[in-house]
């Protein structure tokens, strides 16, 4: 009797394991990348300081967290960004995007503030669509009806992908909500090469990525674990460089 129980237990656990791995293997590129990025960590954060010709201009960053709720798995993506861009002046963005395990958005809350614009963006599921309402001080905007698909929350300078497990030559199209233009657009990523990159005096194996979003092309370097080490923006934001840092270092830079 005990042997049968053990056998049933063994079959159950191994079947669950195989099913789980099959599900991960069958994921689309972006979801598989996010799953690899989170790995066993459940919580990842990424903070980048923004510089132009060695001058500190601000920061951008956020967290990605996998939580287990009674309704299933939820992925929380938070964003916090503050940067001065010519000629727009200071831009402050903060927000949270909650997605289900398919990475389809459940809720969205974003607050945007520039010299001229003050906007509150909220989003929620509405049938097979994702409705986004924008309240701002300039002009009334109609509700955006986005398709229910994977969605990434971008920042003032474009999206940074919470992805790991790249392969050279790989191409990726990721739908992204741009809080500055308050629109959804597709970000295209291409893995150009794998190279040894010096970062803060340490040599690291990194992938070089080329990203195109809203006409701006950028180059970035990401390590095996998906950590964004460095990003260089192209025209019209040339000379803008994003360097990987920590939240504590950003606080020090902000105090100066």
């Amino acid at each position: 009797m005990l042997s049968i129980l053990v056998l049933v237990f063994w079959c159950t656990m191994n079947t669950l394991l195989v099913l789980r791995e099959r599900r991960v293997a069958s994921l689309e590129q972006y979801r598989a990348g996010v799953t690899t990025f989170l790995g066993n960590a459940f919580f990842r954060e990424r903070w980048m300081s923004i510089h132009r010709k060695s001058k500190y201009l601000g920061y951008t960053g956020g967290t990605l967290e996998k939580t287990f709720t009674t309704d299933g798995i939820a992925i929380w993506q938070t964003l916090e960004s503050r940067v001065e861009i010519d000629p727009l002046g200071p831009i402050e963005i903060s927000g949270t995007l909650v997605s289900d395990q398919e990475l389809h958005p459940l809720t969205l809350t974003v607050s945007v503030q520039t010299n001229t614009l003050q906007a509150q963006v909220t989003g929620h599921r509405s049938g097979s669509k994702f409705s986004v309402q924008v309240k701002n001080n300039l002009l009334p905007l109609p509700t955006l009806e986005l398709p229910l698909e994977e969605l990434l929350l971008g920042d003032a300078l474009g999206p940074s992908f919470p992805i790991a497990g790249f392969k050279v030559g790989e191409k990726l199209d990721v739908p992204c909500f741009d809080p500055l233009t308050l629109k959804r657009d597709i970000a295209q990523v291409r893995v150009v090469s794998r190279e040894v990159k010096e970062f803060d005096g340490i040599l690291v194996d990194a992938y070089q990525l080329e990203t195109a979003f809203k006409g701006i092309k950028s180059r970035s370097w990401v390590n095996d674990a998906g950590e964004l080490l460095l990003a260089e923006l192209g025209p019209p934001l040339q000379d803008y460089v994003l360097r990987r840092t920590t939240k504590a270092d950003i606080q020090k830079l902000e105090k100066r």
Binding site: V24, F199, A225
Partner: protein
């Protein structure tokens, strides 16, 4: 009362009697062991926490590297515990005297297998549990894990060790009939092939050859941790264990439970399989193994079978030798006994393999300069001395005990008891210095150490070798276990554990003395300070050797047989 209850009662009674027989001297010994164990746990926690903290401080790199280190830890544990169980389980299940005793009673074979299996796994993994738990605890501390993490980590580690132990036992049960059918020479060739294959796989997997020219040690370490694909497979038990640890440290208990349950399910499945094996085959296999133990065949093959060549020739040559003096006679006897014991022979081969792999793994290590060169030099010295310390604890310490109840024969020989202790020490010294000096020479050539450091390392290993052998023979003679025929059990007894801690302390002291001039006066101390440290190390070695010899001799002299 069931047979299992009877055996458990017998074990408890034996433990109780041992506790009652604790004399002042044994109590002191127990206290030292407990103190030593506490220190090892504390030191393990502190060192691993410092390492994790250091690596975590590297931006964009450290967190992932620490996670890889935990995965590598489980991978290494799996290999070590499986290998260790393979050796211990074969001797315990098929060759031990107590197994004969249990089979003489009306006890079902599955009970015998269960009891002996528990014993084998406990012996092969208890040290691993004590050494690895502090590492996992320090990882939890680093990640600010909730208090329940420490309980979850204990469960995961114990389940994992049990899984590795069961896997090792399953390998033994599968290969035992095949091994028995091989001739001595075939067995030796198969063993060498297997060791060569394992060594090649290890080196190939980590791809040391591709690391030429890399100047970043962290990158080398990262690549080192990422190369083995088995380690990262979601179907590898080490991956389940490490995933459970990561989930528990992040407070995701449901996820931790899933991985731990997967590990447990794959561990428990061995139980009905072993029970079925025991009912159908164990008795017959035990009988067959007793008829012609492989290692005995290795040395005592039939005249017709051996055809005058190979190991049997060597064995005959040893037995026919006419020793010129008592030292030679006792040495020949010890060599013969050692070669006749399959457990001793196979484990010593594993040690040699470990030393070869260690030396080879340094071949492509980048050349270091400045203070880092000194750090690597002393770390290498420490590693070689610790391997040597394990060797003396495992093989030299049990030498006196292995004389067994027949010690009275040696005791009646026309030599003093001190002479016997000296003879064991010289025998051990010959083997340990050969291994230690060759390993330190190869590793220093690989590290391209300058002549001064090279000679200093050779000198340190010489001193450490003498200290370790003296401790092992002295304490082995002072705390012998004549009733035990399994050297692995003798080595992990109270005296063996005491010897292990004393050896670790001694190695630390000798290396500390040798490193003192560099610690006090920087990278290039004046030669006089280096000579002074050499002199102090020599003085310590001679004092310790004299003390251990006296301790062992007097203890044997006071003993009745």
């Amino acid at each position: 009362m069931t047979p299992l209850q009877s055996i458990l009662r017998m074990r408890l009674a034996s433990l109780w009697n041992k506790a009652l027989n604790l004399r002042t001297d044994s109590l002191t010994k127990s206290m030292i062991v407990v103190f030593g164990l506490g220190n090892v746990i504390g030191l393990g926690f502190w060192v691993s926490h410092a390492c994790f903290n250091y690596i975590e401080s590297f931006p964009a790199f450290g967190t992932a590297l620490n996670a890889k280190m935990i995965t590598t830890l489980f991978f290494t544990l799996f290999i070590l515990v499986v290998l260790s169980t393979v050796i211990v389980a074969y001797a315990t299940l098929f060759l031990a005297r107590e197994t004969d005793f249990l089979f003489q009673h009306p006890i079902p074979p599955e009970t015998v297998l269960g009891v002996k299996l528990t014993e084998a796994i406990a012996f092969s993994s208890w040290a691993t549990l004590f050494l690895c738990y502090p590492v996992l605890a320090s990882f939890g501390w680093l990640r600010r894990a909730p208090p329940i993490y420490y309980f979850e980590a204990t469960v995961v580690l114990m389940t994992f060790l049990l899984f590795a132990g069961f896997t090792g036992t399953a390998i033994v049960l599968l290969i035992a009939p095949v091994v028995r059918r091989l001739t001595g020479r075939q067995l030796l060739a198969a063993g060498c092939l297997l060791l060569a294959f394992l060594g090649w796989t290890f080196l190939r997997s980590f791809d040391f050859w591709a690391m030429d020219g890399e100047k970043s040690q962290l990158m080398v370490l990262d690549r080192f941790m990422s190369r083995i694909s088995t380690m990262n497979s979601p179907y590898f038990p080490g991956q389940w264990a490490s995933s459970a640890i990561f989930a528990a440290s992040a407070g995701q208990h449901g996820e931790a439970l899933f991985h731990c349950a997967t590990l447990l399910a794959n561990t428990l499945i061995f139980v009905p399989l072993f029970a079925a094996y025991a009912r159908r085959h164990y008795g017959a296999e035990w009988l067959a193994a007793r008829e012609r133990p492989a290692a005995i065949r290795l040395l005592n093959q039939d005249e017709s079978e051996a055809q005058g060549t190979g190991a049997s020739e060597g064995s005959r040559r040893i037995t026919r030798m006419r020793p010129q003096n008592p030292l030679q006679a006792l040495l020949l006897k010890d060599i013969l006994i050692f070669l006749r014991d399959p457990a001793q022979l196979s484990q010593s081969l594993l040690f040699v393999l470990l030393m070869v792999i260690y030396s080879l793994s340094l071949v492509r290590i980048p050349t270091f300069g400045g203070s880092l060169q000194l750090v690597v030099h002393f770390a290498n010295l420490g590693a070689v001395c610790m391997i040597l310390s394990s060797f003396t604890s495992r093989f030299i310490f049990p030498l006196v005990s292995l004389e067994g109840r027949a010690f009275w024969i040696v005791g009646m020989a026309p030599v003093t008891r001190g002479y016997i202790v000296r003879q064991k020490a010289f025998f051990g010294l010959g083997v340990s210095l050969t291994l230690g000096l060759s390993t330190i020479a190869v590793s220093n050539i690989s590290l391209q150490s300058p002549p001064g450091l090279f000679l200093g390392a050779m000198y340190s290993v010489l001193c450490s070798g003498v200290c370790l052998t003296s401790l092992a023979t002295g304490l082995g003679a002072a705390y012998p276990i004549f009733d035990e025929d399994n050297p692995a059990r003798i080595a992990v007894g109270l005296g063996g554990t005491l010897n292990f801690f004393a050896s670790a302390l001694c190695v630390g002291f000798v290396i500390g003395l040798e490193a003192l001039p560099y610690l006090c006066f920087g990278q290039a101390p004046q030669p006089v300070w280096i000579y002074a440290s050499h002199f102090l190390a020599l003085a310590f070695t001679l004092c310790l050797a004299a003390f251990c010899h006296r301790l062992g001799s007097q203890s044997l002299l006071r003993r009745d047989f």
